[in-house]
Amino acid sequence: MSSILNNNWNNPRQREIKTAMANGAYASLKKVFNMQPVEVTEEVKKSGLRGRGGAGFLTGMKWGFIPKNSKKTVYLINNFDESEPGTFKDRAIVEKDPHRMLEGMIIAAYAIGARTAYIYIRGEYYRQWEILEKAIAEACREGFLGKNILRSGFDLDIYQHRGAGAYICGEETALLSSLEGGRGYPRIKPPFPAIEGAWRCPTIVNNVETLSNLPFIMNNGAAAYRKFGTEKSPGTKLISASGHVNKPGVYEVEMGLPVRTFVEEHLGGVWKGRKLKGVVPGGSSFQVLTAEETSKCCLDFESCAGCGTSLGSGGFYVMDETTCMVKMLQYTAKFYEHESCGQCTPCREGTGWVSQIVRRIEEGHGRQRDLDLLIDVSKNMVNGRTICVFADALALPVISYVTKFRAEFEEHIKLGRCSLQNG
């Protein structure tokens, strides 16, 4: 299996900087510091690296939005607020190979001209915070962080900032509000963070996995990176696989791997010999795929989009034939009801309403008209009705579950209970 990110994950001492360095960590920095920052950005642009946080935006292009000749401080922020239900791959990177991520942060900071970088870390990730505190201290000791790194004249300090448990703070502008000490409310875009971000200064927010890809690109060049994956989705992707499979876990796969192959070969197939019912490939914010749809779908941004869903952050969960889709949707809706920040009307009210209706159906008090109502309410929440895409992240799954498994929802309403269970 080819890999960019996970080749040292089996080494239990990889977290220690000596071991990591023996395995090549921080090796790219010498080369990077001999390049102009703009050349680094160019190399990343050429590699076609796309953001791994969910949106899949071109990383190099994002960096390019930093205003030239601005007198303002530039900030780099590493978004480690991984909270998407079904996604746990950034956690694996930090637990297994934190120095790769730090190396990536140094490269990115150098390219965009940031002298201060923050890691915005999910509040629940306490152990991971400890790991990173240790790793940062080690990197400082070895001279990879601090003043005049490797006598290049480049300074960089990395600070960790712990979130307080809100999912929305993974949205990059809400993250900035939270980092500044405010309530985690997303901001209206434009201006985008690259123009006006943290403390109104140019800011780049990148995901842990995105940054961890940078050492490979700088060591081996964009062309070598493009050998992995597809034309428009180069590289590999970490997939957090969970649900009804024999071997759940975090897998690094080449972009473009067919979903079926992934389930059958990597995950050891659906558990207990049961049949596949559905897959959510990108995390709970995106549409569910039926078993038939999965046969056409591959794990890259274009293929997933073509199938009406998204690769998202790679929160891949598998549902077998015994799964109640009403219950599944109820869990999903409950999460979004709880996590809506409450800033915009459609999301504040809509998430709660949708959740209430689905709960009612699940509990056996549904009405047939509820299904059309769910779809109509969801349509009133999507596509630019709100400041950020949180509302879409519930509305799109709702529409997909209700449309694709409508018969099951209708049966559930008719029986007043799940049709898949006896009595």
Binding site: G342, C344, G352, N380
Partner: protein, 475 residues
């Protein structure tokens, strides 16, 4: 200027304007809640969503700037559906207790619902319940269920007063307006949050449940609480004033006013109003009719002015009274006396509130006029002995003492309220407050501002000019 189209109507608007502003300026009705001309743009209510030609997603018109060739759609079925959707969401957990809500009748949420939706709610589940009467401070009470989290009040306290008392806590549908721990909403402008609240969430503790607003009539007037002269709407019914609301005047008070001034209306309704003429008989005031009071006064005014000493007629003009009242007193005395003496009076309080925004330490609405008047007449410092004295409005404590010591022949007091035991006056002639007559006041910027008569004088009160004219004609 740039050319844009709103609903196919060609418009020329100033560069930098927002689409919403351009629409409102041209009488195109776009609904909104969270936007306010004096506050930063929050863009959270999503009520003002419109479509732009060539844009894949709708935009909030409160934030979108106009640009050459922009084509805006505010009326198509798609936009209507968005507006209905947003209104349905806003009303979803709204308690719909309009029958007992103070805002009812002047509520943008009601108005927008009737203008842009009129669809029945489709919610069949339990609404979220929240506290109904939370005192946020001494003057403002929050009905949390009605709040639509537009954050206008939060932004007001952050951006206008800079006092930062309010915040939103909790998340999603449970979002709740609160004061910060240990804080109270008690900045000097706290009642402005009630004005800008687009629903009945923030209510004035003073006005709460006092009157249905559709019974109120309104007069454009001026606050007489201090020298600033904030422009107001005076809301009244049945000769009772219920509240002041700030009236927009960019040059004076923008669209704000202070709490202290706002609550000064109470003297108009006060129990101490003089409603009938009073004449002192055997050391006690007795209610009499106008005829008797005027006859009593007339008898004591010297018949022929030249027979008496120059200082025998005194007029006390007041910084509390309108230009018209003061002028009437001056004219009257100049006519009945050869060389009348004038003094000035004003309201004086220890440690008056003041700031560098709207609150002036001078608690008199017409001090500037007394200065103007001082160019025509000279003011004496002290009361002459044994004079006939006409007092407008009230005297300071020191003046009262001095007046008594001067053993006046007669003291005629033209007053709207009997502020305290008034042993120093012989006759009290009831005058209307500024709510009951037209008037002019000159504020600290030397702006002449009109107050309009809201209702007929209470009791038997008669305007100063009219009363003095009658005395003069028959003297």
């Amino acid at each position: 200027m740039v050319k844009i189209k709103i609903d196919n109507q060609e418009l020329e608007v100033a560069e930098g304007t927002t689409v919403l502003q351009a629409a409102l300026d041209n009488k195109i009705d776009v609904p909104y809640f969270c936007w306010h001309s004096k506050l930063s743009i929050a863009g959270n209510c999503r009520m003002c969503l419109v479509n732009l030609k060539g844009s894949p997603k709708p935009v909030i018109s409160c934030r979108e700037r106009v640009r050459e060739g922009l084509e805006v759609d505010t009326k198509s079925p798609e936009v209507k559906k968005m507006q209905q959707g947003v209104l349905e969401f806003i009303l979803l957990n709204h308690p719909l207790d309009c029958p007992i809500c103070d805002q009812s009748g002047e509520c943008p949420l009601q108005d927008n619902y009737f203008k842009f939706s009129k669809f029945p709610s489709r919610i069949e589940d339990q609404k979220i319940h929240k506290p109904k009467a939370v005192p946020l401070g001494p003057l403002v009470t929050l009905d949390d269920e009605r709040c639509i989290v537009c954050t206008r009040c939060v932004r007001f306290c952050d951006e206008v007063t800079g006092t930062h008392e309010l915040c939103v806590t909790e998340r999603g549908g449970h979002s709740t307006l609160r004061t910060y721990p240990g804080a109270e909403l008690k900045n000097p402008y706290s009642l402005c949050t009630v004005d800008i609240c687009p629903v009945g969430a923030l209510t004035s503790t003073d006005f709460r449940f006092k009157k249905r607003v559709w019974f109120l009539k309104s007069a454009d007037s001026i606050c007489t609480g201090c020298a600033t002269g904030c422009n107001i709407k005076m809301d009244w019914d049945d000769q009772i004033v219920y509240r002041y609301r700030p009236r927009e005047n960019e040059a004076v008070n923008q669209c704000w006013m202070c709490d202290e001034g706002r609550l000064t209306y109470k003297f108009i309704n006060d129990k101490n109003r003089v409603l009938e003429p009073l004449v002192k008989k055997h050391g006690e005031f007795q209610r009499v009719g106008w005829d008797e009071a005027l006859a009593f006064t007339r008898k004591r005014i010297p018949r022929e002015a030249h027979e008496v000493s120059a200082s025998s007629c005194v007029g006390v003009v007041s910084a509390q009274a309108s230009c018209e009242e003061n002028t009437a007193l001056v004219k009257f005395l100049q006519q009945v006396s050869k060389e009348p003496v004038f003094l000035t009076t004003k309201k004086e309080i220890a440690n008056p509130s003041h700031d560098d925004f709207l609150i002036d330490a001078d608690k008199n609405p017409n001090s500037a006029f007394l200065k103007v008047l001082g160019k025509e007449i000279s003011y004496a410092r002290h009361f002459p002995k044994e004079a006939v004295v006409f007092v407008l409005d009230n005297l300071t404590e020191a003046q009262k003492k001095e007046l008594v010591d001067a053993r006046p022949k007669l003291v005629v007091w033209l007053a709207s309220n009997l502020w305290e035991p008034s042993h120093w006056a012989d006759v009290v002639l009831p005058k209307p407050t500024f709510a009951e007559q037209d008037g002019t006041f000159i504020n600290r910027q030397n702006r002449e501002q009109k107050t309009n008569k809201a209702f007929a004088p209470r009791g038997l009160a008669r305007p100063v000019g009219e009363v003095l004219r009658e005395i003069r004609l028959q003297t």
